[in-house]
Amino acid sequence: MRAFDYHRPATLKEAASLLRKNENARALSGGQSLIPALKLRLAAPAALVDLGAIEELRGIKLDGAVLTVGAMVRHSEVATSRDVAIGIPALARLAEDIGDRQVRNMGTLGGALANNDPAADYPAAVLGLGATIHTNKRAIAADKFFLGLYETALKRGEIITSVAFPLPKRAAYAKFANPASRFALVGVFVSEGAGSVRVAVTGAAPCVFRAKDMEKKLAANFAPDVLAKVRVPPDGLNSDIHASAEYRAHLITVMAKRAVAAAVAGK
C-alpha cells in the first residue's frame, strides 16, 4: 500500500465536503472491494474518507409498507434483523448468502450499491423490489441508479444515506454462485408487489438489468412454468473463464423459475 490521508468524519456534511474538495479521495464503507484493491496496489487514492462513524447512516426501520435500511448497515445485520425478516424475508436470505462470513460482517448495503459490481447480489434486490436510493442530495429510483459496469447515477461527493424498499406481496432471490468467490454467475430477484411484477438479473451482464419479457409473462400468471420458454438472448452477456454467455443466458431462465417457485411457496 502507499501512503494516504485517512479521515473519519462524524457527520455526513463533513464527509461530503472532504470528498468534494479532493478529487482523488475515495469514500470507504465496508472496504470489501476497495481495501483489497489498495493492498494489491491496483488503486492509490490520495485520501480515504471512512463513513463508519456517521450515526445517521445506520439503522433498520420497518414503517408501514416501507422497510428502510441505512447505507452503513452490514450484510450480517440485514441477514439477522427481525424487521427485515418480517418485512422482506427474501432480502434477509439474500444478505445471508453474500460472499463469506468476513464479507458479511464488514460489507455494507451502501458500499455494495455505490460500487455496483456486475456480479453483486444487492443490486438485484434493489432493482427487483423497485427500491429508492436516498443520498445526501436527492432520492434516486432504482431504475435510474444502475447505469453500467461499475457505473451509477451518483455524482462526486454524493453519499448514499439509506435505501427504502417497498414491501412486496411476495419475493425471492435465486443465485447460481461461483463456488470460490460466492459472486453470482447469475442471480435473479423476483417480486410481486402492488400491481407490478419485477425480475432483476445480476451477474449475467455488465450491469444488473430487468428481464421485461419475463415480467410480462409473470404479471399474467405468477408461476414458474410460464418462464419455461422465455430466454434472454446471450448477445451482450458476460463471457469469461467461469461461464460463457450462452450458459449464462440459460441460467437466467433456470434461476428465474427457481426464484418464482420459492416466492410462490413462501420460502
Binding site: 472491494s33 476497495l34 483489497p36 484493491a37 494489491l40 496496489r41 491496483l42 488503486a43 492509490a44 487514492p45 460500487n115 455496483n116 459490481d117 456486475p118 456480479a119 453500467g148 459496469l149 461499475y150 461461483n178 459472486f183 455488465p206 458476460n238 463471457s239 469469461d240 473463464i241 467461469h242
Partner: protein, 155 residues
Amino acid sequence: MEMTGEQLIPLPQEATWRALNDTAILKVCIPGCETIEQVSDTEYQLTMTAKVGPVSAKFKGKMTLSEVDVPHSYTLVFEGQGGVAGFAKGQANVRLTPESEATKLGYTVKAMVGGKLAQVGSRLIDGVARKIAEQFFSAFNKHVTGTAAGSAAGE
C-alpha cells in the same frame, strides 16, 4: 478476447480518415487518455488511466499503425505497461466504407491482459475491454458529429 462493432460517422470517408489520425481528437476520445504524442508516421506514444470500479491503473503505452490503406483501413497494434497492475496488448482493425454522405466505421478489436489485473479481474476483463472500445468509438462519433455540425453552421 475479441469484439466487433460499427458506427455510422456523418462525415465523408476522407474527413473521417483524417479525424482518426488527428492526435488532438484521439486524446479527447480515448477514455482516460492523458497524453498522446506522434513519434513517427506510424507510431504514437500515450499515457492513460483506466478506472474501473475500485481499480485505477495508469498505463504507458505505444500504438503502431500497420497495413495502412488510405483511406480505407488500417491495423493498430497497441501495447501498454501498467506497472504493478500488469499489461495490456492487442490490435484493432478499422475499416471505413462510404455510405452515401456518411462513412461506416467497422472495427474488430482483439485484446489481452496479463499480470495482476488479469489474475484478480479475469471475470471483468471482457466487459471492461468492450466498454472502453464502445466509449472510444461513440466519443469519436459524438466529437466529429459536433465538429461537422459546427462547421456547417459556420459556413
